[in-house]
Amino acid sequence: MSRFSARWRARARTVAGQWTAWKGQWEVERHLERALEGDGPIIAGPWCSEVGYEVLYWIPFLRWVMAAYRIPENRLIALSRGGTASWYRGVAGRYVEIFDHIPPSEYGARAAAGHIKQRETSAFDTGVVRRVSEALALPASTAVLHPSLMFRWFAPFWSGHETLGFVERHTRYASIVSPQVDIPIALPAEYAAVKLYRARSLPDEPAVRAQLRTLVDALSDRMPVVHLDTGLGLDDHADYALDSRGRRLSVNGLLEPRTNLAVQTRIAAGARVFVGTCGSLAWLTPLLGIPTIPVFTDASFLHAHLHLARRVYGRVGAAPFSPVDLSGVIHAGLAWAAPHAAVASSRES
């Protein structure tokens, strides 16, 4: 009897969970439709969260919205930061830079306070939209597609309650082109781009740091390494400061907040290989056509993203995406070392 009732309780829980998920999805749908009504401009943003979510979910989601609701590109105004206009090409007819309207210090303070994910529309977001609308003299009828819609839409997938198929049905992935922006350093003809920062998936521990150092050394023995450490402190991830013995170039201290991501994108797009913490630009570079080696030691927070990335990158013809679980190397008692063996390059492979 107790088994019987437990079974029904479990069923009821499942149905209730599913119902809650549906209600959330329907609400998002209603918000979307309301925002897309009429012929007025639509602000997509302001995007103030992580680069990874922007590339892997937000932009593909916008691309799907535009296609599914037949919205002309010229209605959409992408509102983001760091000069990411090229990421929105084919999605939004116009790009507005947040740092043209908000001082980076104000933006950085928000990130430092830990308000990274935009699950709700914050006062900061509302303020950004208001200032941008005033500055651009946008009509009062301008609608806002806030990132919280996307966060709420895909949250059940991240928690394992929604299917990968659901995400695939509500996103459209496409290649991203490199922006035309000036680069503050002289780049070699051939180089590896590296962006290693501390994250939950790559915590700052002595063993991890040692591995990363030897990894970068191994790379720099083969070709010059360009470090994309910004030193701007615009988010909650600090870059690893790795002194490598080989040819090392860095953009640290040379970037402006309003173009920092554009410059990083341009540098990454010209690299032979991109190696970085699994997150942020590592989700972008395969779509730029650059073989990517994302590194992590703890995949606990990455399962869903890795699952999705592996599926969609293959489908859109992105460059190889080869995640490295550094804990495998560490726990095998091994280390990366300088190669002298002839090994085919990633591009060749």
């Binding site: 659901f166 592996r310 190397v329 190669p339």
Partner: protein
């Protein structure tokens, strides 16, 4: 009597008339204004009619699309899976009712699916349908009795019923038919069930065929069912193994178990062979290595052999088809680490409390399994599971070297 003030009366009358006229005028003006407003409104409606019609059309179209999408979602996520799930669960329930013996199997497909899906599925199903182990007969190959501990009271070894070459022939035929997975029961499966029944002297046994599991989880592998659904239909509590490895020569006290085999995840190429060889040699310089290679193959996978490397021991001479998987399992359970191809026994090792490093070159067929396994390991507090992608190693152009 006072005379009436004619002049004043006339003025009053005139004023009253004027007021009346004014009132009428105002009324007329109001009416005209109202009419004008109406005309304006109608004109405005007429002017904006196409836009309004378009908007209304868009709204109704959006509503229709929304309803269609909702229905599709309902059909995709609820109705179709529910029908399939109900059919599978009804089959499970029917077979579990009564006191008949219950054959689970025959398992003739890959080791990885057996370890990662079939056994956890059976653990869940036997609990869910209240089937006691005394009733359950596991039918598998390679001496995997230990894997079914707590699920099945009896175990029938398929290689006691058919010769390994005949089994390999049937497996190859199944592959040729494009049906490597046991989604449906084949004639060979039915024959094995009959032979197992007569081997044990059991009549009228019910059967839970692996196809039930494959049909239930296939939508998950294709991305049409959620992780939560998968975890709801599995239980990864593996029974602990008794210590000791029977039938194998003396093993080192402290060793790393290694098993590399070819497959889509780790194709047999000169570059891969060299890299794996280098890796095993480096492992062997740090500690004893026991390689779990076999001298035969009953499926499309071939084991890499490394026993010519100093410090590497092979259990090959001790393995025979009837017991090889059981022996390999116990060797892994006694190891301090397992390193092998991502697949097969690598999925099992973390549940044996052995830290595992799974190596692959291509994750094309691994994504759903990695997703499922990593969540299961975390949920069931299994040993550490790390992956090593050799494409990345090659991409960086680095070789693995001994840590300083």
């Amino acid at each position: 009597m006072a005379l009436p003030n004619i002049w004043r009366a006339a003025m009053n009358l005139a004023a009253a008339r004027i007021r009346r006229v004014e009132r009428r005028g105002r009324n007329v003006t109001r009416l005209v204004q109202q009419a004008a407003k109406k005309v304006n409104r109608v004109a405005e409606l007429a002017i904006h009619a196409p836009r309004h019609v378009r908007a209304r059309w868009h709204r109704s179209q959006a509503a229709a699309v929304r309803m269609r999408n909702r229905y599709r979602r309902l059909d995709d996520h609820v109705l179709t899976p529910f029908r399939s799930e109900r059919r599978i669960k009804r089959t499970l329930w029917r077979a579990s009712s009564g006191n008949r013996a219950l054959i689970v199997g025959p398992w003739t497909s890959e080791v990885g699916y057996e370890a990662l899906y079939w056994i956890p599925f059976l653990t869940w199903a036997t609990q869910r349908y209240g089937v006691r182990p005394e009733r359950v007969i596991a039918l598998s190959r390679g001496g995997t009795r230990d894997w079914y501990a707590g699920i099945a009271g009896r175990y029938v070894e398929i290689f006691d019923l058919v010769d390994p070459p005949a089994f390999a022939e049937q497996a190859a035929a199944r592959r040729d038919r494009g049906d490597q997975k046991q989604v449906e029961a084949s004639d060979f499966d039915r024959e094995l069930i009959e032979r197992a029944s007569s081997h044990l002297g059991v009549r009228g046994a019910a059967v839970w065929h692996p196809g039930l599991m494959y049909q239930l989880f296939r939508p998950f592998w294709y991305g049409d069912r959620s992780l939560e659904f998968f975890l709801r239909h599995t239980d990864f509590r593996y029974a602990p193994l008794d210590s000791g490895v029977a039938g194998v020569g003396p093993l080192p006290v402290d060793y790393v178990a290694v098993k590399f085999y070819t497959g889509p995840a780790l194709p047999d190429t000169p570059a891969n062979r060299a890299l794996l060889r280098d890796l095993v040699a480096r492992l062997a310089r740090r500690s004893a290595v026991v390689v779990l290679d076999t001298a035969w193959s009953i499926d499309e996978h071939r084991d890499y052999a490394f026993d010519d490397i100093p410090g590497v021991t092979t259990v090959r001479p001790s393995l025979d088809p009837r017991t090889n998987l059981g022996v390999q399992t116990r060797v892994i359970a006694g190891a301090r680490q397992f390193v092998g191809t991502c697949g097969g026994l690598a999925w099992l090792a973390p549940f044996l409390r052995v830290p595992t490093i799974a190596i692959y070159e291509s994750d094309r067929y691994l994504t759903a399994h990695l997703y499922a396994a990593r969540h299961a390991y975390r949920r069931y507090d299994a040993a550490r599971f790390s992956t090593l992608n050799i494409t990345a190693i090659r991409g960086i152009g680095a070789a693995l070297a001994k840590a300083s």
